[in-house]
């Protein structure tokens, strides 16, 4: 059968292609810049391909103790924060699936209220101070342990699991905790992966906590570091640009590294893990979004 290409189809495919390109292009550009000789990149505009191709920017960053320390902070908070969040939310959600649990609707309501009305930024700050969380690694973990929407998404998934599985395990004499750990959790991998992605992305991307609740430089995550580079660099990079080959470039042999090219490489390292993971979880998080918005 021959496909008919109407004017609308041509228009539609073109429009969507332009849309996809405009989404992707900034990343191509930043990647090209990060692989360029910094001084070259300042002298000539980059569009798609690096100028004076080099890995020097990345090599420099991975030798920079400030960056490495920030990377360790980001990775630790993401791993610890996400795994605790997923496990504790799943525990809570599992209890809520027990239809004859006394007070079940009260507890649902109890966790629902904060999703419409919350104390807000400043009361949170006071609380963190009282709890000694300011300038403390755990400020990245504790305030983000639970979320109403995530609990509901997990509960909805648990509700769909066949009850007969639990019943037969009970007959076999398995304790309720063992049922949860060895039957419920393994069967719920799709929803747990979705929540882990959502929360993991949050932890990975959160710069605000590091910028406002932490002053200790040793506790700064990568995104907060990027924020500082952002404010510093505008002035720095522009000044360097104006005076062309000025003293702000760091020469290492024949290759030149500039603050701007380093920043672009930092940005790529800070985003690459997420870009590599999310496409594979697409099928799951699309379902998670649907459940979340219907129940919410």
């Amino acid at each position: 059968m021959r496909k008919k290409w109407s004017w609308f189809s041509i228009f539609n495919y073109t429009l969507l292609a332009v849309f996809a390109f405009s989404t992707l292009y900034p990343f191509i550009y930043i990647l090209a810049y990060s692989l360029s000789d910094g001084a070259e990149a300042m002298k000539h505009p980059i569009y798609f391909l690096p100028r004076g191709f080099t890995f020097e920017n990345y090599i420099q960053i991975f030798q920079d103790s400030t960056f490495l320390n920030a990377y360790v902070i980001t990775v630790s908070r993401t791993v610890i924060g996400t795994s605790l969040h997923v496990f504790l939310s799943a525990l809570f959600a599992y209890a809520l699936t027990k239809k004859d649990l006394p007070g079940r609707s009260f507890f649902t309501f109890f966790i629902f209220i904060p999703s419409i009305f919350s104390g807000g930024m400043i009361p949170n700050f006071i609380l963190f101070r009282e709890l000694g969380l300011i300038n403390n690694f755990w400020v990245y973990v504790f305030p983000f342990l639970f979320s109403f929407f995530h609990i509901i998404i997990i509960r909805t998934f648990f509700d769909q699991l066949p009850k007969s599985l639990e019943e037969s395990a009970q007959i076999d004499g398995a304790s309720n905790f063992r049922i949860f750990m060895s039957i419920i959790l393994p069967l719920s991998r799709p929803v747990l992966a979705t929540i882990a992605l959502f929360q993991g992305v949050f932890h990975w991307n959160d710069w605000f906590t590091g910028a406002y609740f932490v002053t200790d430089e040793a506790l700064r995550p990568v995104q907060t570091l990027l924020n500082e580079l952002l404010t510093e660099s505008e002035a720095l990079a522009n000044a360097a640009q104006r005076s062309s080959q000025s003293g702000t470039t760091v020469s290492s042999g024949l290759i030149n590294v500039t603050p701007e090219s380093l920043r672009m490489a930092t940005l790529i390292i800070a985003t690459l893990p997420i870009i590599c993971i999310y496409p594979f979880l697409q099928k799951y998080f699309v379902k998670g979004v649907m459940v979340g918005s219907i129940k919410g």
């Binding site: 496909k3 609308f8 189809s9 429009l15 969507l16 292609a17 849309f19 996809a20 990343f27 550009y29 930043i30 990149a41 980059i46 939310s89 525990l91 209890a95 004859d100 649990l101 006394p102 609707s105 649902t108 309501f109 109890f110 966790i111 904060p114 419409i116 009305f117 919350s118 104390g119 807000g120 930024m121 400043i122 009361p123 949170n124 700050f125 006071i126 609380l127 504790f142 342990l145 639970f146 309720n176 905790f177 992305v201 991307n205 959160d206 710069w207 995104q223 990027l226 952002l230 990079a237 640009q241 104006r242 985003t271 997420i274 870009i275 999310y278 697409q282 699309v286 979004v289 918005s293």
Partner: protein
């Protein structure tokens, strides 16, 4: 939606065999599940309900020595201070302008994207565009703003290089009053439209295909099919999403504005969230900032209640 669920619980509670046992026995039998919930209950009390109580500092002269309970009451002093602040109405106006522009221009974008994607018959193309469209959702605002700054800079940024090669003079886009709102709206759409389309695509895929078949028999073209079948079918989802957006009118996305708003654009770019963060976290005016934040969230709750009750009457769709 929650009410329905709770009614169901009552129903099952009343008629279950379990109910014949005493309440205490049932609680004892479920002790393990209370243990499962214990970390969550403690967390919600500490990190959700105590900050709600902490809002009382808006009515007190807060000092860290006295804490939340020990500080002296000050009545409405800090609310008055905000409304007497010469920029207060500018800040409220900025918040409303940016919100409404995001609502009017940004809200339809995911719907349009979903409708266009739905017309794509080459599945590989559709999947690729979708996957790419989710990407900006997973990127932090820091990264987005860094990218914007690099792309738009007059010093070697690609956009300005193209402008220059076409013979025009270079433009300082960021920190410029003339381009501020455009950049806010466009970057918001760029970041959110693709992910926002998921929910509409799901709703569209749920439409009965036979409706389209019979519409075709009646000679309806694609546009009429979309207008008379697809749009009415996804209307409930649109209403829900619109109501949620209305509830957010007072909050504009503080990360984006905190990062893009510079001293040069402060007159049109300072919104309530940013003012709260600047006065509270940067200047340490705790009670004042709490009062502004409380004002903001009360208006937000009122707006969502109004929008919901209008929608209940007009659309018969509502959040609760």
């Amino acid at each position: 939606m929650n009410n329905v669920e709770m009614d169901k619980d009552l129903y099952t509670d009343n008629y279950s065999v379990q109910n014949k046992k005493s309440l205490w026995l049932r609680i004892w039998q479920h002790r393990l599940y209370y243990l499962f919930m214990l970390p969550g209950i403690i967390w919600f009390v500490v990190f959700a309900y105590i900050p709600m109580y902490g809002l009382t500092v808006a009515f007190k002269d807060f000092s860290f020595v006295g804490g939340i309970t020990g500080s002296e009451w000050s009545g409405l002093k800090y609310f008055k201070e905000f409304f007497n602040f010469y920029q207060a109405w500018d800040i409220i106006r900025n918040t409303l302008i940016i919100s409404l522009m995001k609502l009017v221009i940004g809200f339809p974008m995911p719907i349009i994207l979903a409708l266009l994607l739905n017309e794509v018959k080459v599945l590989k193309f559709k999947k690729t565009v979708q996957t790419i469209s989710y990407l900006p959702h997973f990127i932090s605002w820091i990264v987005v703003v860094t990218i914007l700054q690099r792309m738009l800079t007059p010093y070697g940024g690609p956009i300005n290089e193209i402008i220059a090669s076409l013979g025009f003079s270079k433009i300082q886009f960021l920190g410029n009053l003339d381009y501020f709102y455009q950049i806010i709206i466009l970057s918001d759409i760029w970041k959110a439209a693709g992910f926002g389309a998921i929910i509409y695509l799901a709703a569209i895929s749920g439409v009965d295909q036979q409706l389209y078949e019979s519409a075709k028999m009646d000679g309806a073209n694609r546009f009429r099919q979309v207008w008379h079948i697809t749009l009415p079918a996804i209307r409930p989802v649109m209403v829900i999403m619109f109501l949620l957006a209305c509830g957010g009118i007072m909050t504009v996305g503080y990360e984006q504005l905190l990062l893009l708003n510079t001293p040069a654009t402060a007159s049109i770019g300072t919104v309530l969230d940013v003012h709260v963060i600047q006065s509270g976290l940067e200047q340490g005016r705790i009670s004042y900032a709490t009062a502004v934040g409380l004002f903001q969230s009360i208006i937000g709750v009122i707006l969502i209640i109004i929008a919901n009750s209008i929608s209940k009457k007009v659309n018969e769709t509502s959040l609760w």
